[in-house]
Every structure is written in structure tokens, then in C-alpha cells.
């Protein structure tokens, strides 16, 4: 039980810290920077890190990676979090999911052509899986790809695609054979997002921002060499992406949002009917302490995952606990924050803590869906960790296009 760095780790941390101190300040965006300006800065910052060897930590050197360890990556991420460089989640997808998938399933030429630019921030990736009719059940997608000589012609629609509006390349799953059960008729492609027929539309969320997109495909042509895996064998490639995606969750900043400080500040300004401020009242303490126990527990679970990674073990389903608990309790505590403020809790104009609480109330509803609902997550824990039986899948052997298979 030890939180101290080993000597090697400490040395690396010092090196990183010095490098960041010297280089990060040039990349700090202005407070009023537009998204386009932030993206530009993020590209430049990524290129700078690539020059110094601080990208693709666990990827081979010949691809432009560092050929280093997960521990180094953790240390770098921790240190980077202390400086105000831009952070755009989408930039992580290529290095953490895109390149590993290319390495496993793509023609080597694609790997050598795209890996370097991806690590340097020149190529940003998005992942186009979900559709209006296929959320938790990714294999139910309907976007069609039809072979035409050496090319495939794609028509259909994706949704909840993060970062599609800034992405250069995309990972795309399509249906190529509707006559077989749904998992068996899928084919996976990589796609230049500037291809004719690709249209990206921002999707406004209930909290007013547009972090996701809808993507429409109209007769989009993809050369067959951009196919990953076998024809109708795309589900295997999807599984590869999902397994890497779960690892990426460890670095997910969104689950780091917590309301402990805003709630403490808000409560400290509200006089308690029992005297003093609400901070000392049993009602507030009961709720905040339980909440803090979840927040702290998840934080420490991340340390246990780092420990696994540093031992070259693959973290298990506990990596998903943060996602599965924090969003729900964030939602509850956001409502609680409004509750203690009472009638005035409806209005966020004047109080930054209430503003953060209200924003969390909406965003938490979204977090609860991101990366699979909590219900799916609990199934995964029950099945993979506890060894309980899988749900019955009535459509496992039904052709996708049959009435029962297609929905």
C-alpha cells in the first residue's frame, strides 16, 4: 500500500513536469477562445508532445509511439492535468482506439500512413457506431454498405457521434448482409470524413451544448482496402474497439466532475434552522458524506487500476464502476443542491455554484447514457466478474431482415 513513486517513476515525473513548465504555457487557450481556435491549439499541442515523445506511450516507436509503459502514460496524464492546455476528448480516440484497431485489422499500409499523423494531431478520429435504432444493441445497426466493384456504397445515418465535426477520419460499422443473424452481417470500414456524401450535423443536447453529431451517408463510396476485417466479419473489429474503449475510460475527465466543493460552498451560505450553516446539519452531512464516499472510492479505484496497469495486468470491469456510479449520484446530488437552495435554487444566474449544480443536473442525465447505459454495465459486471448467466438473446440466430431479427 504505497502512493509514492518508485525512483524511476519519480525521475520520469520530474522530467515531465519540467518539460510541461517549459512548453505548456504557449498552448493555453484564451478564456474566450472559439471551438475552432481550441481545436487548432490542440493540434499544435499534440504535435509538440509528439516531438518530445509524449504521445502513444504504449505504441511501438516505429509507428511514432514512445514504446514506453502505461505507468508513464498515467504520470503524464496526471501532470498534464495540472496545466491549462486545451483538452478535447476526441483527440484521444485515434491514439487509444484507432491505431490499435488499425494495427490488428488494417492493411499495414494504412497503419504506416495514418499512425504518425494521428499521434501528431494531424488526423483526428471519430467512431460511428450508434444509430437512432441501435444504441445499447450496436449490432442492430441498419446503415447499408453494398459492394460495387472495388468499392462499397454506403447509405444510412449514425447518431451520438462525438467530434465528427472536427474529425478527419472515422471508424464505421455497416450492414452488408441482412439475410444472416445480426452479428454476422456487419462490415467495418475506415473512412475519410471529407468523402462526398458525408454530412455532419450538430445535435443540440438538453443542456444547450452540441457535443454530439448526427452523420448522414448518401451514396458514400469507400474503397475496399479501407475495410477492416473480413466481409461480414465486422463484429470482431467492433469488439476490438470496445475493449480499447473501456481502457480509455480510465482517462475520462467527464466522470471527474463532482459537486463536493460547490455543495459545500452553497451550504455554507445557507443558514440552518438549527443554527449555524447547513454544512453542520445532519441532513446535509448524511447526503454529502455518502456522496463523497462514492467520489473518493472511484478516485481510489483509479489508483488500483493504475497499479494493475503498472504490473502489466489488464484492468477488469472495475474500470467501469466510475462511469456507472458517478453519473447517477451526480444527478441525485445536483437535485439535492437545488433542493437546499429552495425556491431560489431554480435560478442560476448569480451564483456560480448553483450554475455548476444545474448544469450537472442535465449533463449527468447524458453521462448516464454515454458508453452504454448503467443497465448494460451491470449486466457486464454480473456476467464477466460474477460469472452469472447471460441474458437470453432471442435474436441470436434470427436473420436480421426477418420481423423478429431486425429490430
Amino acid at each position: 500500500m504505497d502512493f509514492e513513486d518508485t525512483q524511476t517513476e519519480a525521475a520520469f515525473r520530474a522530467e515531465v513536469r519540467a518539460w510541461l513548465a517549459a512548453n505548456a504555457p504557449r498552448f493555453v487557450p484564451a478564456a474566450e477562445a472559439s471551438e475552432a481556435e481550441r481545436v487548432k491549439l490542440m493540434r499544435a499541442w499534440t504535435a509538440e508532445k509528439a516531438k518530445a515523445g509524449y504521445v502513444g506511450f504504449t505504441l511501438p516507436r516505429e509507428l511514432g509511439g514512445r514504446g514506453g509503459s502505461a505507468v508513464e502514460e498515467i504520470i503524464f496524464v496526471e501532470e498534464q492535468a495540472r496545466v491549462a492546455v486545451p483538452h478535447i476528448e476526441t483527440f484521444n480516440l485515434g491514439p487509444s482506439v484507432g491505431i490499435p484497431v488499425l494495427m490488428k485489422h488494417a492493411h499495414p499500409e494504412h497503419v504506416s500512413r495514418l499512425a504518425g499523423p494521428t499521434l501528431r494531431g494531424e488526423v483526428v478520429w471519430c467512431q460511428m457506431f450508434s444509430e437512432p435504432g441501435a444504441g445499447s444493441d450496436v449490432a442492430a445497426i441498419r446503415t447499408r454498405a453494398v459492394r460495387d466493384g472495388d468499392e462499397w456504397v454506403v447509405n444510412g445515418q449514425k447518431v451520438w457521434t462525438s467530434g465528427a465535426h472536427i474529425a478527419d477520419w472515422g471508424m464505421l460499422i455497416t450492414r452488408t448482409n441482412p439475410a444472416v443473424p445480426k452479428h454476422q452481417g456487419l462490415t467495418f470500414f475506415i473512412l475519410d470524413m471529407k468523402s462526398p456524401g458525408v454530412e455532419v450535423r450538430p445535435l443540440k443536447q438538453m443542456w444547450g451544448r452540441s457535443e454530439f453529431n448526427e452523420v448522414f451517408f448518401t451514396d458514400v463510396r469507400i474503397p475496399d482496402h479501407q475495410r477492416l476485417g473480413d466481409i461480414d466479419g465486422g463484429w470482431q473489429v467492433v469488439l476490438t474497439t470496445l475493449s480499447n474503449e473501456r481502457l480509455a475510460l480510465i482517462y475520462d475527465r467527464t466522470v471527474g466532475r463532482n459537486l463536493v466543493a460547490p455543495l459545500l460552498r452553497l451550504a455554507s451560505h445557507i443558514p440552518s434552522p438549527e443554527g449555524g450553516s447547513l454544512v453542520a446539519s445532519s441532513g446535509f452531512c448524511d447526503r454529502l458524506a455518502s456522496y463523497y464516499a462514492v467520489v473518493a472510492g472511484v478516485d481510489h479505484i483509479r489508483k488500483r487500476i493504475s497499479t494493475s496497469l503498472s504490473r502489466n495486468e489488464r484492468p477488469g470491469a472495475e474500470a467501469t464502476i466510475g462511469k456507472m456510479t458517478l453519473a447517477r449520484v451526480l444527478q441525485e446530488m445536483a437535485a439535492f443542491g437545488m433542493d437546499i437552495a429552495g425556491t431560489a435554487g431554480q435560478v442560476a444566474d448569480a451564483d456560480p455554484d448553483l450554475a455548476e449544480i444545474q448544469e450537472s443536473f442535465f449533463m449527468s442525465a447524458g453521462y448516464r447514457m454515454g458508453g452504454g447505459t448503467e443497465e448494460i454495465g451491470k449486466n457486464i459486471i454480473a456476467e464477466r466478474v460474477l460469472g452469472l448467466p447471460q441474458d437470453i438473446r432471442v435474436d441470436k440466430n434470427t436473420p436480421f431482415q426477418s420481423p423478429a431479427g431486425g429490430r
Partner: protein, 370 residues
Amino acid sequence: MNFDFSDEERAAQETLRRMLAAQCDRNFVRRVLDGEHGLSRELWRELGWQGWLSTSVPEQYGGQGLGYVLQCAIALELGRALAPVPFWTSFLVSEALLLAGSEDQKRRYLPALARGELVGTVAFAETAGGIRGDLIAAISENGRLTGSKTAVCDGTDADVTLVAAKADGEVHLFLVDLHGAGITRAPQTGIDPTKSLARIDFTAAPAEQLGDERAGGWPVLESLLARTAVLVAFEQLGGAEAALVMARDYALDRHTFGRPVGAFQAIKHKLADIYIANELARSNAYFAAWALNTNSAELPLAAATAHVSATEAFDRAARDNIQVHGGAAIAWQHDCQLFYRRARHLALALGAPGQWRARVVANLAAARAA
């Protein structure tokens, strides 16, 4: 014993439901959310003309004198439709007049409120916290009221407001004409933009004590809150029921892994939990309606219990409606957010939910001591 709405009340409910389905569907509410129009004066006046706002007001003041149960049934339907109208605020003002107003005040305001020609509201909150005397700084002296109130519901549109302010160190209630002198209103962005909120600054605004003498004050405010809480509980229940129907319909329609999502126990049990919470809230609301209608000594406990129960039910239904819908629900275009926002508005409209819980326990403890 007949613990249900009467056949007449149900028929009226059905009529109102049809009227609202035609004139106040969710697209209508959404246009309010999108800022295309605010609180709907037209709908409000229409409701008034059709008599939906005056059933509990005595005939001598332009009402129908039919008691409170029908008014509760009406609140249920307005809640179900998420109607963006100044319902509970105007009700509270009417009740204030009936409970403590002077004869002149009653005659001046009640008929217009009953017809939907006048919008009334109440201004009590100044800061974060419960509704408490020590959190009220507004002052009234010599017929002039000075102070600042926040989160005044329907405050951008209201014509008259009841204000809690101090006079001689005690809290009293005042009527203030919002079109009069010394009034500055600033719209506020609230959790539910389908209910307009405003900050109202009073600068030596002409203010009239509620009632001829200083009979107003704290006990009247508590009584008004309890009476209004019953109506709000029905509005919440209506919203919770509509959210459950929406979630249930989606769970039957949407398929995943080859089955309707409503076939999976995780979703079935979530929907059953909403149903259970709604039924508990309904029972508590019915009891409170009876207590309100008969002016029972149990009203303070029954009203607080009904509001606590309905707040839990509507919050749950609105939240889990989103969860059943999955990703689609978080799009701005999606109707789920209408419930999610309204549930919070109604939970906070009459003060901190914790204060309502404390009222439940205080009433239980008092009953035990008695």
C-alpha cells in the same frame, strides 16, 4: 366512503383533457421552451372563460363555489399537459384573498382572477434557503414596500403579487400592483423556462396590507403554502403520470436485442417503481384534497405529505423516463426534458423540499404530543 373523484369530476376532467390535448400539446409547450412565446395569456384566458379557474371560488366573487376537489382534478390535468399557465400562483393569491383579504380586496381581485383576466403571483424568496422570517429583508412602511425578491414564478407576466415583507419587525403579507410605481422586473433563466421566473425589485412601491387589519403574517402564509401545496401535488402527479405513459409507450415500441426494451426486467422493474411511487403520491394527494375540501384539522399534515410524496414521484418519473429512453432522450428536440425541468420547478416552487419534510415531522410530533 368514496375515495375517488366523482363521476361529474371525472367527466369535467375528460373535457379539460381533450381541450388541452387540442390547445396545449407538447409542441405548444416546446415552443415556450424554445422562447417562441412565454407564458400563454391566451390559453390562460381561455381556461378562465371556460370556468376552469374558478371552481373553488365562491359565487359571490365570480366563482362557481364547487369546492376544492374539482380544482384538484383540474390541477391534475394541467400537470399532465405541462400547461405553461400561471395556475398555482394565481390560486395562491385567490386563497390569500379568501382567507385574509378585506371585502374590498376580494371584490377587486377575485372575479378577475377567476376569469383568467388577471395573473397573480407570490414573492417570498430573497436568498437560498427555506421560507423563513429571518431570511426576509423586504420592509413595508407607510404603505410603501422596499426589497428584492428572486425566482418569482410567472413574475414577468403577473399583474398583482402577494409579497412577504416585514413591518414593525414581523412578517406580514402585502398586495402590490405590478404595473404600479417602484417596480423593476428582470426575467431570470430558471431550471424550467416553460415557467417564467423574474427578479422583482420593489423601491418604495405602493403596497396594501392583506386584509383590513394586521391579521396577515406568518400563520396565513403557512396556511396558504399548505393549501397551494395540495394543488401543486396534483399538478406534479399529472406530470408524473404523463411521464410514466411516455416511458411505457417507448418501452413497448423500442426494440433492442430482438425484444421490446420493456421486456427486460431492468426496465420492467424501473417502470413498476415509477408506477408504485405515482400510486402512493395519488393516494396522499386524494387524502389532501379531502382535507382541503373539508377544511380538516389534518390539512397541514396531509398537504405536506402529499407534496413530499408527489415531489418524489415526479422527480423519479421524469428522471427514469430519460433513462428508459436512453441516448435519444438527451437531445434538445426530445420531450423528456420538459418533464425533467417541470419536475424540478414544482419541487422548488413552494420552498425547499427539506422544509416540507420538516413540516411533516413537526405535524406528526405535534399530533403525538396532543
